[in-house]
């Protein structure tokens, strides 16, 4: 019982962050700032939701000799979350890089630097 409550809390908090990411994607002004919202929101919320699933699996766990397949499921879910922890920021970076290569103009606030624009004639 207590395990399902904790896992429900994890999943709910994950959904709140997902919602925040979605709102960010709609409201932010340009491609780069939107990718901020998408990349970060996705990482933590998928981690939270998957951890919630893993905890929920513990519900039916009574004896090791009968319920060991549940442990395998939990290990698989943890494997997925570690995979996301590494790939999600990489994907965000790849998106940003592709956006820059496609000449999507970043909105820079006045008086703030755009070093990549300054240096781009060098490479």
């Amino acid at each position: 019982m207590i395990v399902s409550v904790i896992s429900a809390i994890f999943i709910l908090v994950g959904i709140v962050f997902f919602a925040g990411a979605a709102i960010g994607i709609i409201r932010f002004p340009d491609f780069y700032t939107r990718t901020h919202a998408a990349g970060k929101g996705d990482t933590l919320s998928s981690l939270l939701v998957i951890t919630g699933f893993a905890l929920y699996q513990l519900n039916g766990f009574e004896s090791f000799s009968e319920d060991w397949p549940i442990l395998l499921v939990i290990l698989k879910l943890l494997g997925v979350s570690i995979f996301i922890l590494f790939t999600s920021p990489t994907a965000t970076h790849a998106l940003m890089d592709a956006g820059w290569e496609e000449c999507s103009k970043p909105k820079i606030k006045e008086g703030r630097p755009n070093h990549l624009g300054d240096d781009s004639d060098q490479f």
Binding site: G20, R27, T33, H36, K40, L44, L72, H93, K109
Partner: protein, 193 residues
């Protein structure tokens, strides 16, 4: 490493070679065990047929490509294990940063978008392996308000969403990564340049 080997005398080179071949064997075994654990977890069958299939395919993969997982195989395995623990502690700290960063994005998304101060800044690092640079780039992406756009040589081009987060790139993360991989910096300093 190959450059430093060329500078040491032949006698010590033989010792180094002997050490690195025995290390290579340990690395092979280590990669094999790692793959086998993944096989068992993913398959979930413990009968002889499936386990032997796993043994055969893991052996073939290790034979063909065990050098892909670790770039530099001159380090002893205990150094790697120490690094793995360091990496674990680092990722715990990282998860804290991810939570902060998400709260930050949530606040920005719900607040006024006039407050955004997008900018692209440079950051120079002094890390020496690809994996560490990858780790730093990912960490920059996951900490609040910053995303790596491009890495050219030592220079990171980072998109920051506000002045505050742009100032946050002060090298604390790089120091943490260097602490995790401290052994690699020690050996590169000791070897004759």
């Amino acid at each position: 490493m190959s450059m430093s080997v060329a500078h040491i005398g032949t006698a010590s080179r033989h010792i180094l070679m002997a050490q690195s071949t025995s290390n290579t064997k340990f690395y092979r075994i280590f990669v094999f065990v790692l793959l086998m654990v993944i096989w068992v977890v993913l398959s979930g069958f413990f009968d002889v047929f499936h386990l032997s299939l796993g043994l055969i395919s893991c052996a073939i993969v290790v034979w063909l490509s065990s050098d892909l997982l670790f770039e530099n195989r001159h380090h002893r395995l205990n150094v790697r294990i120490k690094q793995a623990f360091g990496l674990f502690a680092y990722s715990i700290w990282m998860i804290g940063q991810i939570i902060l960063s998400n709260i930050y994005v949530l606040r920005l998304a719900l607040g006024s978008t006039e407050k955004l101060e997008p900018q692209i800044v440079r950051y120079k690092c002094s890390l020496n392996t690809d994996f560490q640079r990858f780790l730093l780039a990912n960490s920059i992406t996951l900490t609040p308000g910053t995303v790596t756009i491009k890495i050219i040589g030592d220079t990171y081009y980072v998109h920051a969403i506000s002045d505050e987060t742009a100032n946050g790139l002060d090298g604390t993360m790089e120091r943490r990564i260097k602490k995790v991989f401290a052994d690699e910096y020690k050996t590169s300093k000791e070897s004759p340049a």
